[in-house]
Assembly symmetry: C2
Homo-oligomer: 333 residues x 2
DNA sequence: TAGCACAATGTAATCGTTTGCGCAAGTGGT
DNA sequence: ACCACTTGCGCAAACGATTACATTGTGCTA
């Protein structure tokens, strides 16, 4: 209540708001002494700018939004950390939103960010953005996708790994270890990351002249429960695979739980390889062989890309940045 | 860039801004037909409110800030999830900030939220808030602490477990299992949660008439590295403890790593009990005996408390809400 | 001594919404 | 025919900052 405004300072000092504003922002043309008087009174009276007013006037919020499906997944948490680092350095604020894997929430978050006049957004989409993203296009606000490419948008900016190549490579690794009965639990294939991984897997098998068995290839949900359920399905088969590739960490955790629950051994009975199953504790057993996205770097690059667009340091052209995944070894294969 | 404003709609329809605003907000006194014409044109022309202007005028952003030390710690991630659920239901937006365990960043985040006119904030403080929190007091913006109580503030609102009681209880559990040589690695004791847990531990020991051994009690940092280092110190002692209590999940992971690295067995050589070492994957070995804070519930309650204060449903009085921790069993003890 | 450059400051418009107050026209009861 | 309401709408002032465009005063030059 009664927060101090520039107007108050101006009146108290018998100067105009112009002078106060100029003094506070150091934007020249104010006598040194006046400037100091303003500064001092501002300090004493605990003046703080009202960002709303400022942003409204300047049409610039210096705020970047990021929407992720699951903030408690360390993969996304690390992306956020990366983005936040850049934001902090460059004087931006990062607004984090969680879509809870729900396209409707994703849409809602994007809408809210748009209304709040975010300067740009980073989206790890789960599919629900078409309509709102057009709003960003119209408003000419930079949007960068991470992890997933949008299912529809025509041209877009992207920071991610090459999921096709990664899946191909991971499958090759499994093959090289001598496995030939290989299956996969994919994420929802309407999400590009899941689909590309699926395709990489299929093509790697076929290039290795290994037939793929449809029973061993299942479409799941990027959740622990789904991993468990699908793996249970696979394990109940007459003919079981010798190795399974999991499209994501949660799927892997669920799947492994299912395997153990059936009293089976990893990797003797079923071997496991996964994506992004990186272990922050160092205590997960088995240690999962996993191909990981460089999460923090993805966050950093995406954020940098937004800021570049904002400062005009980047041409308006569509840009896809592909980063290299890294392998973490383990005893699950 | 040519974003549609109410003014544009008004001109196009030959009505006043008042009418447009009323129609869009459904705040009465507009003919049904006019209202529909406005709505339709708004839709067609992709009108969106400018939250900045709206909030500025209303002096209300419907935005709640939350500042946590480490977003990639699942404990905090779950708090955020809880808070976000409530916010979403009540039409608020949650702004998540990460302080990275750094008091300066914490201060910065609080400052930014204040300037952005957040309607309220939730803080899991690591100690750097004194100055800025006064700003909130002056502006009469509700602040709710979680996890940690502020080191200085006189009266404050809090949602947390009773850390003293919890530590006392956990220690009792360890004692009841027959351990008498018990040590603890605490967090930074200038943080209240760490200090209270330390005191609960000490008093539980003394009430059980077990002498405490200063060599086994160490002050660490709530990080994996610190857990590792301090545990290494403890293990290098002539006389080792039979059980160690870890004040936090990260400390526990680091400590366990150290124990294994020394070729020791858990719980035979050293037993382990911890706080908040809850395992999302179900694959962490050993399964850690842990007393956990109900993270999502903390987030929900804190958020609810803010909103209650905002809507005047709560008296201005200081409120401390203590929730019950829950035990997860394991084989580490 | 007029003219000029430049420093220091002020006036007022602007960003996009909301809303108190006022006004005109319509409705219905007596 | 009059009064009391209600309905539908508009004017213009906020909210708090920034800034283009004056305006004033000062010292210096020609």
């Amino acid at each position: 209540m009664g927060n101090v405004r520039q107007k108050d300072i101006a009146e108290r000092l018998g100067v105009s708001m112009t002078t106060v504003s100029r003094a506070l922002n150091g934007s020249g043309r104010v006598k040194k002494e006046t400037c100091q008087r303003v500064m001092q009174l501002a300090q004493e009276s605990h003046y703080m700018v009202n960002s709303l007013a400022r942003s409204l006037r300047l049409s610039d919020t210096r705020t970047i939004g990021i929407v992720v499906p699951d903030i408690s997944n360390s993969f996304f948490a690390n992306i956020i950390k990366g983005a936040q680092g850049i934001c902090h350095d460059r004087g931006y604020m990062l607004m984090v939103c969680n879509s809870d894997e729900n396209p409707l929430y994703e849409e809602g978050a994007l809408m809210a960010l748009l209304e709040k006049q975010a300067s740009g957004v980073i989206i790890a989409s789960v599919g629900g953005s078409r309509e709102t993203v057009n709003g960003y296009r119209r408003a000419n606000i930079p949007v960068v996708y991470i992890d997933n490419v949008p299912s529809d948008a025509a041209d877009y900016d992207l920071v991610s790994i090459d999921n096709y190549k990664a899946a191909y490579a991971l499958t090759q690794i499994v093959v090289k270890r001598g496995y030939r009965k290989i299956g996969m639990i994919t994420g929802p294939r309407k999400q590009s990351s899941a689909r590309m991984r699926y395709e990489g897997f299929i093509n790697a098998l076929s290039d290795a002249e290994i037939p793929n068995n449809a029973d061993w290839i299942r479409e799941g949900e990027f959740t622990l429960e789904s991993g468990y359920a699908e793996m249970m399905g696979v394990l109940s088969l007459e003919r079981r695979p010798a190795a399974m590739i999991l499209s994501n960490n949660k799927l892997a955790y669920g799947a492994i739980r299912a395997i153990y629950e059936q009293g089976l051994k990893i990797p003797e009975d079923v071997a496991i390889a996964s994506f992004d199953a990186i272990d922050g504790t160092g205590l997960v057993r088995p240690q999962i062989v996993s191909l990981n996205q460089p999460a923090e770097e993805i966050g950093r690059r995406a954020c940098q890309m937004i800021i570049d667009k904002l400062t005009g340091e980047s041409s308006g052209q569509e840009r896809h940045v592909f980063l290299e995944p890294f392998l973490s070894e383990g005893d699950s294969l």
